[in-house]
Symmetry: none
Subunit: 209 residues, 4 copies
DNA sequence: TCGTAATCGAGACGGTACGTCGTGTCTTGCC
DNA sequence: GGCAAGACACGACGTACCGTCTCGATTACGA
């Protein structure tokens, strides 16, 4: 009356994916990332579990843990891989339009791609452990900030910006705005929101007489 | 075979904290919130579990779940209770100084109180499903925005601000900045950072000749 | 963000059943027994819980526990009350037919009445505690055995039975048979089963030449 | 951000009993059954919980639930394992003595071994829902009846029994008798009780002139 | 007639077990 | 060595019932 009879480990269900010897199987690796992306797409932020990734990718948990340290590592690669292709640098000759464009692109990416959806989870995961936040901040964020910095500096060279602005602070502000909207569930394709933010940033809030 | 004729094999365990009838036991409620805060203080955002709260508070899990729907609800009350006492409205007659002060107060709260420390977990926790984000956005955030809105509107009445600014957008920007710094582990008591942000906001980034 | 606002104990939902002062409210008592019976009827042996009885009867748990020591006590009264009315003594002038009739009546009672259904649970409950078994055996069973003993003795007086039979043992055998069928889920209205048992008992199994 | 670049915040707890790969760990399995038996021995039928078994065996609850569907399944294996060793088939050339011997062995087993003690709980547990009763009746009982059927048939071949007896019914009667005695707390080593039952069965109760 | 004493509902409470799920580690045996 | 399969300890989850308790309203009876 036990639940099942003795398990036979190499039973009926043969897997298609086999070992490729002492080299990493790239097919497996790809399958894992694809499965991870699909789960994020379909089931949302919760329900994203390593076990589910293993089930869907046909990989074993050990293989996943061999190559990624934990859930966050996997999420990270989901996001990193895709964002590079999606985010491009506009060149309109007008910094305001360029930034609005970039914000809308970013939000669209967050909204519409599985990898983008991973991002909020990535932020959440990172909060559980101080060292993870640190590593993430120093290794991941700089990559993302490059694009915006480039656009801002180009605008500065074109003479569009005040001489004395602090680029890093401005970028903190702009990323912060997008993150805040993301984390509070407000990243519809809202042209007004993006434009409004840029306008306030651009003009300053102080009254000049 | 009513009571007096039937053996009663029960009644071994005696509890310390007794029932207060059909009214909620405020002492228990307080013990729970205190335990929750203490755990956050000592063990950090991760390792915060309902079971641990139950163990330390001496309350039972059922009691916690009777009054809070889930972990997030409890975290929320931890935060809300404390933040009301901590965050005050400055009145310096100068909106720049007022905002810098508020930002520094907020960061200090986030850094130095157990409840404040809970906040990043609260954000993370809220990301797990869409309905939580929604509830959080509509019930929790408005409360937090009131203070800043008050300060901005007062400044507007004093004539310090441009006539046409969009208060909500400005608040999104300012909260966004603080959240971003928090979530990327950069909320030291950095006067420069707070001041820099305000300066950029205040002046605008566009060059005016 | 707590689960609900402060409970108001004497809120909207007024109960119909009121206190009857310092006398026991028989209506409440009846409602409890009826609810208990109904639950057994509908939901079966599992799902019979004091809380459910309280819910359905409109009584409070304290009232139930005031009058019955525990779940078993309540089950017991469910059974005892009903069985008296249901089980009658046949008088056919033929002990075989009388016993078959009694068995079928008993099985029918067990099958078709809520109280009867309680019986198997009663047996099960009684097993959890040694003193309960004891009390049950000495206080409850004798009552049930009276009927059968009466029938057997009447048959003996009619000269139908062997002189030296041990009534108590025979009764043990007969009750045992019914219990076994009950506890193994075989108390359909199976005339053959009842008859077969009686035949074996009556004839003996040893070959007589 | 593969494994080697990502901090791994885990790995604090070391366990004593290690995995044996994808094969079932027989040591664990044995430890679970032993713990279960010991608990029955010491704490009786009530107080037998899966959690306690987990605690004492050093196994995790998940492992228990991996191999046994529920409490009943585990109890069952406790009982089945032990009963095979304990219950033997006598061969005295005399069916009366053989049956008395078997009954006394069975009662002794029920009385004196932890697994035997589990049996009444097993019966009780099985009553909680209809499907359990069914499974139990079809999967468990037949195994137990084999021994007795063998003895009866051998006696029949020796010519000791009436030609037309219904073996299944006789077994129902005999098992019923033992169960009834068990469930009503009367399985002392009472030679008289066992003998009396057999005598009544053997001779029949009807008077033959 | 009024106080005392008991009943009753509602439901909070500590406790404990349930059964499920996910984590990250490990082992076996095939490739 | 890579890899699938999957067993394992750990521990949190959220639910359910248990039996005890307190509260405040209600009601009968005796002083």
């Amino acid at each position: 009356m036990t639940k099942r009879t003795m398990a036979s480990p190499s039973g009926k269900g043969r897997s298609l994916k086999r070992s490729t010897g002492c080299r990493r199987n790239v097919e497996t690796s790809r399958a894992i990332l694809e499965a991870a992306a699909a789960i994020l797409q379909e089931k949302g932020y919760a329900n994203f579990t390593i076990e589910e990734v293993a089930r869907r990718s046909g990989a074993s948990k050990s293989t996943i843990y061999r190559w990624w340290a934990n859930k966050m590592g996997l999420l990270f690669d989901c996001y990193a891989g895709a964002s590079e292709k999606m985010l491009v640098i506009p060149d309109f000759g007008d910094v305001e339009r360029e930034i609005v464009f970039m914000i809308r692109s970013l939000w669209k990416f967050w909204r519409e791609t599985p990898s983008g959806r991973a991002f909020r989870l990535l932020i959440a995961e990172a909060q559980t452990d101080a060292s993870t936040v640190e590593e993430w901040r120093t290794r991941f964020l700089p990559e993302r900030r490059k694009l915006l910095r480039f656009v801002l500096q180009r605008a500065a060279e074109r003479g569009e910006l005040r001489r004395d602005i602090d680029f890093e602070t401005v970028m903190d502000i702009m990323f912060g705005y997008s993150w805040y909207r993301l984390l509070t569930g407000q990243i519809d394709d809202d042209v007004k929101a993006a434009t409004a933010m840029v306008r306030e940033m651009v003009r300053g809030i102080i009254r000049k007489e």
